[in-house]
């Protein structure tokens, strides 16, 4: 196996907009807001950056295709910019591009920007989109909640748990994230909710109620990366390094072969194994300090705890109800509020997760600050349970 990118790249500046229904803001405003915070954080000049990666999912409904929206918004000096898209893993995909460029020595300083302006679409929930000329002919007209709700039905059947017990653990997931989001001024939803509110919320797609679903919002997030030795020359002796970034897309097995049980995300398991190996993590349950995972729906987070190896198979429910992933638990999950409270402007989410881990590792998370976190894991799942792109990043603070 290749030696990987562990500790070859440092993050020296990050920015993240307030997420929410930013009715009066344009993509240009959001990108600028995230970038100005990041560049100030890094202590760099705009002209110091040599290459950019721009993550946008719904291109036609937002900023348009290609590199030039980002180049134009920031009036970049004609440096290379690559626009990337990989479903909900788009933000992490942008980061991967920038990190790989630096690790490869193609440039010294690069940046990744993710942005999405969902509230310009007129939809509550994610907008409809085509699946391609062939797949449109036979694929169900699913919605994301409907596609992820399937995990719950299959999980309950596989582990022989009642939907009532499963729903209670799912409700805890949402309750916990709102507890965290209430302490985050950049979150879209900053209100606490009760377990009863979650359990009694109107049904969206059985068994997911509306409070099992993450919000829909506008936002942008940005990361500036360089090599650790350059970080030090810039006076950033304490910085965050990238321990691993791994991507695992489905190859059709889950959708087309009976070996998949419908109750887990196969790609997350594959990406996790590779990411832990790249990061040198042998005991994730004890080494990972915090996670930001793709909690698009409560059931997703529950299943992911098992897929990431943080809970044993079938133990997700009890671990969640025991508070293992609460702010005060062994491995806090979504300490910033997660997709649940930030919403999911798709291109930005992976970088928003990275932003929180970055703050936590540097001890800059304010009243959400965890005690001495060492390794943080960010996880995206683009697509739906039976076909998706999983992206896992692991970050650590330099000594």
């Amino acid at each position: 196996m290749a030696e990987g990118i562990r500790d070859k790249v440092a993050i020296i500046g990050m920015g993240c907009t307030k997420f929410g229904e930013r009715w009066d803001a344009s993509p240009e405003d959001l990108v600028t807001e995230a970038f100005e915070e990041a560049i100030a954080d890094a202590g760099l000049d705009r002209n110091d950056i040599e290459a950019g990666w721009f993550g946008v999912f719904y291109d036609e409904q937002n900023v348009g295709k290609s590199a030039y929206p980002l180049s134009q918004y920031l009036r970049l000096p004609n440096i290379p910019v690559t626009r990337v898209e990989n479903l909900c893993a788009t933000g992490t995909e942008a980061l991967r591009g920038a990190v790989y460029a630096v690790a490869a020595g193609a440039c010294d300083i690069a940046f990744a920007m993710g942005c999405e302006k969902l509230k310009d679409t007129g939809f509550s929930g994610l907008p409809e989109r085509t699946k391609g000329t062939f797949e449109d002919l036979y694929q169900p007209n699913f919605t994301p909640p409907g596609a992820f709700a399937q995990l719950a039905a299959a999980y309950a059947a596989k582990h022989r748990v009642s939907m009532t017990d499963l729903k209670r653990a799912m409700a805890h997931v949402s309750w916990k994230s709102h507890e965290n989001g209430a302490r985050n001024p950049k979150a879209h939803l900053q209100k606490r909710i009760s377990m009863e509110q979650v359990l009694n919320a109107p049904m969206v797609a059985y068994p997911l109620g509306v409070l099992d679903c993450c919000g829909v919002s506008d936002g942008a997030a940005c990361a500036i990366v360089t090599r650790p030795e350059i970080a030090r020359t810039l006076g950033r002796n304490r910085h965050v390094t990238v321990k691993a970034i791994q991507l695992a897309p489905s190859n059709g097995v889950e959708m087309g072969h009976q070996s998949w049980d419908g109750a887990h995300t196969l790609t997350t398991r594959k990406a996790a194994l590779r990411a832990f190996a790249e990061a040198g993590v042998s005991d994730p349950k004890n080494e990972i300090s915090l996670t930001e995972v793709h909690d698009c729906f409560s059931i997703t987070e529950l299943v992911l705890m098992e897929d990431l190896g943080l809970s044993d198979a079938g133990s997700g429910i009890s671990d969640i109800l025991d508070g293992r992933y609460d702010a005060t638990g062994a491995i806090p999950c979504q300490i910033d509020g997660g997709l649940k409270c930030f919403g999911h402007p798709i291109g930005a989410s992976g970088l928003r997760m990275t932003y929180e881990i970055y703050l936590q590792l540097l001890g800059r998370a304010g009243e959400r600050q965890l005690s001495a976190p060492r390794l943080g894991l960010a996880h995206n799942l683009g697509g739906i349970p039976n076909r998706n792109v999983a992206a896992i990043s692991i970050f650590g603070a330099s000594d």
Partner: protein, 483 residues
């Protein structure tokens, strides 16, 4: 020469029955006279069913268990969804019959179904499947809304050991316009039935059937069953009397659980008779529409091997609907705000639809010859993670296979004209897995592991271009549908 006649038959009645009492509750204020019809339930097609899908299901019922398909396929309907696109060809594709199958459409009158049988009986050198179906357009508070029903029927004619021999056939044409529907009108314009009863029905039946019976040396009183598919079931008596048959021979008009299914109805009523007739019995089938068609049949001993209860089960297994607005929505007769998700552009790439015709219409996937794994869709490389063989896939049809629900949801956010949209991962017996929409599941009906069978339905409607496309959906497995 081998005997010629009916060698197979099949029927399809949608599971939903609109309570006629509930129709009256909704529209009786406007037409109080409808009260006399307000009993039983009329079958109605869901939003994703049309004459093609119902005809296809009847055709599957008729062909079930047969190794070879017919040489020809005729589709008869006055409500064929396409005016200029061969409807029979869609049914052929969904049956995955060879492209050499001679396909053609019949239309134009309520006789179209029986006319197709008569026309087809003229060529005794080949097997032909006559498929008739209607999704009847009706106006609110019309008598037809009460009397009509949606359904399909299929009659397979051919050589061998027919279950019913065609003894004689006759036809008369008379342009008596008691009702009509034009290319530009959506529903029937109907005159009072007394004129048709007195001047049309009686004389056409006599004019058509009597010479035919005489030629066949058949005494009218000896007819065991008379199929007289009149819109008003009470008028069947007029037909029997005009022909000289016993009124006891009049067969059930299927009013109680179905309603008059237009051009399909003579064949549907015939199917009901075939399910219970005994060897040696004779059946006179009539059909009316600007004249009359008639066919005389005699049941053979082969009926014993073809005994089945598909139609009677379907008729008995109806699910009552009492919500008139849902009935309207199923027929696209009410302008419901389905929300912004209904705006999705469902343009069909016809190049792809043609190239993938066997995948989409025939539900033909692949069977990897290297590892024996069935899969959908067929692909260049095998989906089995332990195989991955290139270009080893043989054709493998999923349409007639039983599946089980691996995962599902009831989605209240997704757009469908019958919320919630139910869909999930289906595992097929013998292998293969598909993520697909489901149909005929009410909220709370679906469970993990439940058996499903495949139904050919409308997948999406392209409102911008007046087109719709079909694919298969997973429906609750039903012994009734299997006959």
């Amino acid at each position: 020469m081998a005997a010629y006649g009916i060698i197979g038959f099949g029927a399809y009645v949608p599971r939903k029955r609109m309570s006629r009492a509930a129709i009256f509750d909704a529209v009786g204020w406007a037409q109080g006279s409808l009260k006399s019809l307000a009993k039983g339930g009329r079958a109605f097609a869901e939003w994703d069913e049309d004459a093609i899908t119902m005809g296809l299901e009847a055709a599957r019922d008729a062909l079930r268990g047969r190794a070879a398909g017919p040489a020809a396929l005729c589709f008869a309907s006055t409500t064929a969804p396409f005016l200029d696109r061969q409807n029979a060809g869609v049914i052929r594709a969904a049956l995955d019959l060879p492209t050499q199958t001679h396909c053609f459409d019949f239309a134009g009158s309520q006789r179209a179904g029986l006319s197709a049988v008569i026309a087809s009986s003229g060529d005794k050198n080949r097997d032909i499947l006559v498929v008739a179906a209607e999704k009847r357009p009706v106006k609110s508070a019309s008598a037809l809304e009460m009397q009509a029903g949606d359904a399909g029927a299929a009659i397979l004619l051919g050589r061998g050991a027919p279950i019913a021999e065609v003894i004689a056939a006759g036809s008369v044409s008379a342009d008596l316009v008691d009702h009509y529907r034009t290319a530009s009108s959506h529903t029937d314009y109907t005159l009072e039935e007394r004129w048709f009863r007195d001047e049309g029905l009686s004389s056409f039946a006599a004019l058509c059937a009597k010479p035919m019976l005489a030629e066949a040396a058949m005494s009218p009183e000896a007819i065991d069953h008379i199929v007289a598919p009149t819109i008003n079931p009470a008028l069947a008596k007029v037909v029997a009397e005009a022909v000289g048959a016993r009124t006891e021979a009049i067969v059930d008009p299927l009013f109680q659980n179905c309603g008059h299914s237009g051009a399909a109805h003579p064949l549907l009523m015939l199917c009901a008779v075939l399910e219970k007739a005994e060897p040696g019995e004779t059946i006179l089938v009539t059909a009316f529409g600007q004249g009359c068609d008639a066919v005389l049949l005699r049941i053979t001993a082969a009926i014993a091997d073809a005994r089945r209860e598909s139609l009677s089960r379907q008729l008995a297994e109806g699910v009552e609907e009492t919500n008139y607005a849902r009935f309207l929505a199923a027929g696209d007769r009410i302008d419901i705000d389905w929300g912004i998700r209904a705006e999705r552009d469902n343009r069909t790439a016809q190049t792809v639809a043609f190239n993938k015709s066997r995948d989409i219409y025939g539900f033909v996937g692949g069977f990897c010859a290297a590892c024996d794994t069935p899969q959908f869709p067929k692909s260049r490389r095998c989906v089995n993670p332990d195989c991955g063989a290139l270009d080893k896939q043989e054709d493998y049809r999923f349409a007639d296979r039983i599946g089980r629900i691996k995962s599902f949801t009831e989605d209240w956010m997704a757009f469908t004209r019958s919320p919630p949209l139910v869909y999930g991962n289906i595992s097929f017996e013998g292998g293969g897995n598909a993520f697909m929409e489901m149909c005929d599941f009410a909220p709370g009906d679906a469970t993990i592991g439940a058996e499903v069978e495949m139904r050919f339905r409308i997948k999406d409607i392209d409102t911008l271009r007046g087109y719709h496309r079909y694919f298969w959906k997973a429906a609750p497995a039903s012994g009734g549908r299997n006959g």
